[in-house]
């Protein structure tokens, strides 16, 4: 029977072959996207793993000659540079991954992107931070991305041992450092929830293309004696054959476009092409799972109809969904709301609280979707004044599960991305980088982990001589540990950073002259410090603050001078917002990923809907064509089809985005005590573009309506 089914699929005439090609093409697109999603997950994982490997843990004691290692972050124009200082303690020291040998003192290796940046930037702004000789380029095995800015600088053992974060490694790259699980869970959740589900829905829907025609053929087979079981085997075989061909094509498409896909900065940084790889398990799951799933989908779809020798009888009215489907949704929202003001202390505890809440809402949306569709459709049907709205609403109310199935992917994708975008927008708004050109953006400071007894006058002079620098100030350590950490003579406070109260000689100030979480202000009045001007000079220096005109040249030159003067910095000389800038860049990367998911999932949902439209039209070609013969304008029928697909899709989009924002608000309030900041126009524009693309795909099926409801349908069927 399987052989017979195969013969029917591939040699069953032109119609069978056309059906096979259409289904295989649709499955190819779906399988290709599935492979991209899986490879994307692997690529993100590889990127994060290599990023984590830049921060290795110390090896256990007892190895031979350890490699001394210290990782710190530096910044250049808001981008993060990972600086790794290394020193081999002997012949047996391991060599860092990605370079042929450990650099000696005065030698360094650069990542390709940093090499390019150095070549394009005046040396005083960046290259001077790495005195010595460039030995070569860091290989991709050590880089999270082709865009990564990494430098590996060689030193003596004593120099590295004195640096912050110094550790000894007896092996390098052997133990992959563990990734923070919450991050990985979040990423996997975003990608899986946002894209995998729509892809699987699409593949399932694609295999049901031309289901009505196929069922009629099966009825004819029943007439000549085929048993229901034989029909099931034939249907499953046909579907699996098309899915095998489609999956093979999907693999071909994936490997053909892998390089181009890797070049898209989904996470804000490009991937190496080799990172977009498939594990054997991925290959196995897709190669076997898609055809098996297709066969299963065909079998399930046949269970929904009764194929007798006299024809196909569709189940008249499937059981209506009940209101209990709302329970998980309500529980999820309640769970997140409960933890407002009760945030668990540990990150594991937070994950254990927030992830189930979000997953409950996701599951709740999928479960509640058919019920909501039914209620909406019933309301629409009871109020419909036009025949198109009436027919569309009745069809949706009749089988809301089928109506919702094709758009459930949109719901999840839009929910997940709305949560992500809501959270990201709010964090960026609350912790974003300093405004370009502001005093904050032009303030470079370096704080000493070990207070300096004094600061060389030559250094201050060098800093003041940099074009664009307006002030260079050494802040002394405040002996009053309860007050602001710095003290400064009132006469030395640069005008842009405030002044002292009248009659005060020495003020207590912030180490960077900009209080944490606030902005620099010329009107700020610093409080008096319990230090006399005479004692001030004897206090150790806590930090140096350079005020510039906020031009990148003056900021970066100041940073370079300070880095060279104090190479053992714990935190690199920085401007307020450097860390935030890097952090928000990362967040923007995720935002971009979310945008990609929105457009891709809506496009996919459009394809799924288009398949449903075609299926629905095939099922109703006779009543529709007879309605048309009876004078019903084609535009009415077009409106029926458009309403059946577009109304639930748009309604679901609104519900999903709304629920996403509700969940984001609950999460932000509970986790960070932030209030949701509405995403910018870009988000809505992307959603609208995605929805428009989706509607466009649906519209592309409408010419079929005119074709299949012509007079010949009434004659020939």
């Amino acid at each position: 029977m399987i052989r017979f089914g195969l013969r029917l699929a591939v040699a069953g005439g032109r119609e069978a072959l056309t059906r096979l090609v259409i289904i295989a093409s649709a499955v190819a697109v779906g399988a290709g996207l599935l492979l991209v999603t899986l490879a994307g997950l692997n690529a993100v994982n590889a990127q994060l793993t290599r990023y984590a490997s830049l921060y290795p843990s110390a090896s256990a004691e007892g190895g031979g000659d350890p490699l001394w290692w210290s990782t710190r972050e530096d910044y250049f124009r808001g981008d993060q540079i990972v600086r790794i200082d290394v020193a081999a303690s002997g012949q047996g020291s391991p060599t860092p991954v990605g370079i042929p040998e450990t650099p000696g003192p005065g030698e360094y290796y650069l990542s390709p992107e940093l090499t390019t940046l150095l070549a394009a930037t005046p040396a005083a702004e960046l290259a001077d931070r790495y005195p010595g000789r460039k030995l070569g380029t860091i290989g991709e095995a050590a880089l999270p991305s082709p865009d990564a800015l990494v430098v590996i600088v060689g030193h003596t053992v004593d120099d590295v041992a004195a640096l912050p974060h110094a550790r000894q490694l007896t092996s390098v790259g052997a133990d992959t450092p563990a990734l923070p699980e919450t991050v990985v869970d979040l990423i996997v959740g975003v990608i899986a929830g946002g894209l995998l589900f729509p892809v699987l829905i699409f593949i399932g829907t694609a295999t049901r293309l031309s289901a009505a025609r196929r069922e009629q053929r099966f009825a004819a087979m029943r007439l000549v004696g085929a048993t229901p079981r034989q029909i099931s085997v034939i249907a499953a075989t046909e579907a699996a054959a098309a899915a095998v061909a489609g999956t093979a094509l999907g693999f071909a498409l994936f490997y053909a476009f892998r390089g181009q896909l890797a070049a898209i900065p989904f996470t804000g940084m490009r991937f190496f092409p080799d990172d977009m790889f498939l594990r054997p398990l991925d290959i196995l799951v897709v190669a076997l799972g898609v055809p098996a799933g297709a066969a299963l989908a065909a079998w399930v779809s046949l269970r929904r109809v009764r194929i007798s020798p006299l024809g196909v009888t569709r189940q008249v009215t499937p059981r209506a969904p009940r209101a209990y489907r709302l329970i998980p949704l309500v529980l999820g929202v309640a769970e997140l709301a409960f933890f407002i003001g009760r945030r668990p202390e540990t990150s594991d505890g937070q994950t254990a609280v927030f992830l189930p809440g979000l997953l409950l809402i996701m599951a709740g949306l999928v479960l509640a979707g058919p019920w909501l569709t039914m209620v909406g459709a019933r309301v629409l049907a009871s109020r419909a004044r036009r025949p198109a709205a009436l027919i569309a609403a009745r069809r949706l109310a009749d089988n809301p599960k089928a109506g919702f199935r094709a758009i459930s992917g949109i719901m999840l994708a839009l929910f997940v991305t709305s949560v992500s975008i809501g959270v990201i927008t709010t964090i960026v708004a609350n912790r974003g980088p300093a405004r370009i050109g502001s005093t904050d953006a032009g303030t470079v400071s370096t704080s000493f982990s070990d207070d300096q007894p004094s600061v060389p006058d030559a250094l201050m002079a060098e800093l003041r001589a940099i074009p664009g620098v307006r002030s260079a100030t050494a802040i002394h350590r405040n002996p009053d540990r309860m007050a602001d950490p710095g003290v400064l003579a009132c006469t030395d406070i640069p005008q842009a950073y405030g002044r002292c109260a009248d009659g005060v000689a020495v003020a207590a100030v912030a180490e960077s002259l900009v209080p944490f979480g606030e902005s620099a202000s010329a009107t700020r009045v610093w409080p008096a410090a319990p230090v006399s001007p005479a004692d001030l000079r004897r206090l150790p220096v806590a930090s140096i603050v350079v005020g510039t005109d906020a031009s990148s040249a003056s900021v970066e030159r100041s940073r370079t001078v300070l880095s060279l003067a104090y190479p053992d910095f714990w935190v690199a000389p920085n401007a307020p917002g450097d860390f935030e800038s890097s952090f928000t860049d990362q967040l923007r990367g995720w935002q971009q990923l979310a945008n990609v998911i929105i457009v891709a999932s809506l496009g996919l949902a459009g394809c799924s809907l288009a398949v449903s439209v075609v299926g629905g039209l095939s099922e109703r070609r006779r009543p529709f064509s007879l309605l048309r013969l009876s004078g019903a304008p084609v535009r009415v029928l077009r409106r029926v089809v458009a309403l059946e697909s577009a109304v639930p899709m748009l309604a679901v989009a609104v519900v999903a985005v709304g629920m996403g924002f509700v969940a984001a608000q609950l999460f932000l309030k509970a986790q960070m005590d932030y209030t949701l900041t509405a995403p910018g126009v870009e988000f809505y524009a992307i959603v609208l573009v995605g929805l428009a693309a989706c509607l466009g795909i649906i519209a592309s099926t409408l010419p079929l309506l005119e074709r299949i409801t012509g007079p010949e349908t009434a004659r020939s069927e």
Binding site: L390, R395, S630, A632, P711
Partner: protein, 226 residues
């Protein structure tokens, strides 16, 4: 008597295959005419040309003094919607709608308000012995019931001409007779002209007149005494 609808020397081909080779037929207002003929003789094609579904390659179709064959598609659609009614062999009900909504559909398509359309539709249920089936779906009806609902739908808008293409073709003889009884009675009550395509003499016997289509031409016009 006034001629309600007329075909004059109508020629129509499906590609290279001729279906009508100069068919002529005049039907008087209020008359019930049965078009008979063998399979492939062109009887359904003649009905489709008369109803403005197909446009003849040559010849004329006149309704109420106007040339149907030269009307634009939109005009012909409007004619079919507002002044004609149709009953086909099977499968004409929209499966998602209730039977009452199916019957009301032509009125809704003509812009009648929903409540008014449904009120008129309900009136036909009693008349055709369909009481209690108003809220059923087409899949829940027997063949005879479905055909009576289709008949109600064909007549609800008060058409001047009802076109019936093998209306009993999918029914057993007893049910077919019941449907024909109802069709003829309702048409006579409304004064509706009926053009009926059938290959069954029993069905044709309900007509005032029977014409035979053979090789694309209407032969032996014959009036049956009523």
């Amino acid at each position: 008597m006034t001629i309600a609808i007329e075909a004059r020397n109508v020629v129509f081909s499906f590609g290279q295959t001729p279906a009508l080779r100069g068919a002529s037929l005049a039907v008087e207002a209020g008359e019930i005419v049965a078009i008979m003929g063998a399979s492939g003789s062109g009887k359904s094609t003649l009905l489709h040309c008369l109803a403005g579904i197909l446009v003849p390659d040559s010849g004329e179709v006149l309704f109420d003094g106007a040339r149907v064959d030269s009307m634009a598609e939109a005009q012909r659609s409007s004619l079919r919607r507002d002044r004609f009614g149709f009953v086909f062999q099977f499968g004409q009900l929209v499966p998602e709608l209730t039977t009452a909504e199916n019957v009301a559909l032509p009125l809704l398509l003509s812009g009648v308000r929903r409540a008014e359309a449904l009120r008129k539709a309900y009136g036909w249920f009693e008349r055709l012995g369909l009481e209690g089936l108003e809220h059923r779906r087409s899949g829940e009806l027997s063949g005879g019931q479905a055909q009576r609902v289709a008949l109600a739908r064909g007549l609800v808008a008060g058409p001047e001409v009802l076109f019936a293409d093998e209306p009993t073709g999918a029914l057993d003889s007893l049910t077919g007779e019941q449907v024909m009884d109802l069709l003829v009675t309702a048409a006579r009550e409304q004064g509706t002209t009926v053009i009926l395509v059938t290959h069954e003499p029993r069905v044709a016997a309900y007509a005032d007149r029977e014409v035979i289509v053979r090789d694309g031409r209407v032969n032996a016009p014959d009036r049956i005494a009523s």
